[in-house]
């Protein structure tokens, strides 16, 4: 698993490929299946996830080590981190409404889905649980976020193709999507030995 002794590049590729959040760790599937109906929607959603994951892990590191640890309140971490993710999404929504209503029209409806996105919260928990330093946390969150982005883009492209392909009657709709995700997951497992981890 990840820790501070890994080389930064190894840490990045570990989060990005070898422990890809969706296809290897299987976290954040609810929004994953909701938003990958078309490529455009998935790309917008992925951009918000990148920003939110980055901000949330960074702020969580500061809160955990500068606020919760001095007063011995680490047991509060679940409540604090979940509310942090919601807080970031809410602030983003307000800023978008205030400054760029056009951009809000494009990606605004995705923000309510991401409010309690498992992927963002999971990245926070994983980075805090493995006691990463601040620099490593930034590298790790970048890896997780880009891994998520690549995963949803890949899946959205394939899903658009599969939705017009002839499949058996009972597999139409969500079953074929599950099997498609399983097949992509097999290819991701193939990368497991690439860095000798």
């Amino acid at each position: 698993m990840i820790n501070n002794s890994l080389h930064p590049l190894t840490l990045f590729f570990n989060a990005f490929f070898l422990n890809n959040l969706i296809f290897i760790q299987i976290i954040g599937l609810c929004s994953f299946f909701k938003i990958t109906h078309n490529l455009k929607n998935a790309a917008h959603h992925g951009l918000i996830v990148i920003v939110n994951t980055f901000l949330a892990t960074l702020m969580a590191w500061v809160i955990f080590y500068e606020l919760l640890t001095p007063i011995n309140a680490q047991y509060m971490q679940i409540i604090v981190f979940v509310f942090l993710a919601i807080f970031i999404a809410k602030i983003e929504e307000l800023l978008l409404v205030k400054y760029s209503i056009r951009l809000y029209g494009l990606i605004g409806k995705n923000i309510s889905i991401i409010m309690v996105n498992c992927a963002v919260v999971a990245a926070v928990f994983l980075s805090i649980d493995s006691r990463l330093s601040l620099v490593n946390t930034i590298i790790y969150s970048a890896g997780v976020a880009i891994g998520y982005y690549i995963a949803i883009i890949l899946f959205a492209i394939l899903r658009e193709k599969v939705s017009i392909a002839p499949v058996p009657d009972s597999f139409k709709g969500i079953p074929i999507d599950f099997i498609l995700a399983g097949l992509i997951s097999i290819t991701f497992i193939g990368f497991k030995s690439i860095l000798g981890l």
Binding site: F23, I24, Q25, I26, I27, G28, L29, C30, S31, F33, K34, Y75, M76, Q77, I78, I79, F81, V82, F83, A85, I86, V116, N117, C118, V121, A122, F125, L126, D129, P168, D169, S170, F171, K172, G173, I174, P175, I176, D177, F178, I179, A181, G182, L183, S185, I186, F188, I189
Partner: protein, 206 residues
């Protein structure tokens, strides 16, 4: 508190509806992450199901009791607060008394606080004026989740390790079923099978 009498048939109809017709996993595709990620053994699935059922019941009852004191705009945050409060209790309890379960389930215990299943259930109970009906609906969701979870984990343990409950069924199992892709493929075939049965017997699940 708003309270009204419900007949037993009404309650069990709601229970049946939540378990089969509106199953959270198969039909609504909510709360998938634990079902796919930690269903590698039956014991894991069993402990996760019990945790989910407990948190569902407790959060549903608690939000019913306290929601009359808060404004309607705050309900969402109140729900998240209550949910993460119970998840914290469960997390600390498991770390204190059942460290093995806590290690096996790992990140998925804190992630219960952001599981879509609970938000779906919250949306359901918000519109439901009756206390008992919403309680039965929560129980139904929990049982529906548990049924699918235990079934998936049974299949994955059987196919992935070749043994069930420490009894070897066949040797040289395909290990892919105990890895991440196995979960996707198994649940894909289960949903396809249920769709097949639904079409075969021409029953419309509304």
């Amino acid at each position: 508190m708003h309270y009204q009498q419900n007949s037993f048939t009404e309650l069990f109809k709601e229970l049946y509806r939540r378990i089969f017709q509106r199953n959270p996993i198969i039909v609504l595709i909510a709360g998938l992450c634990p079902v796919l990620a930690i269903s590698t053994t039956v014991s894991n699935a069993f402990s996760m199901s019990i945790i989910v059922l407990c948190v569902l019941l407790l959060s549903d009852v608690t939000i019913r009791l306290v929601r009359q004191f808060f404004k309607i705009e705050l309900m969402y945050f109140l729900h998240v607060l209550i949910l993460s409060f119970y998840v914290t209790i469960v997390d600390l309890f498991l770390k204190g008394f059942y460290i093995e379960i806590s290690n096996n389930l790992g990140i998925f215990i804190p992630l219960i606080a952001v599981n879509c299943l609970f938000f779906e259930q919250y949306e359901n109970s918000r519109k439901q004026p009756s206390f008992l009906l919403s309680l039965f609906s929560a129980i139904g969701s929990g049982i529906g989740f548990a049924l699918i979870m235990i079934f998936v984990s049974f299949l994955r343990e059987l196919l992935g390790s070749g043994k069930v409950f420490e009894v070897t069924v066949f040797s040289k199992p395909p290990a892919i079923f105990s890895l991440a892709p196995g979960g996707f493929i198994v649940i894909g075939f289960i949903t396809a099978f249920i769709a097949y049965i639904g079409k075969r017997f021409n029953r419309d699940d509304k």
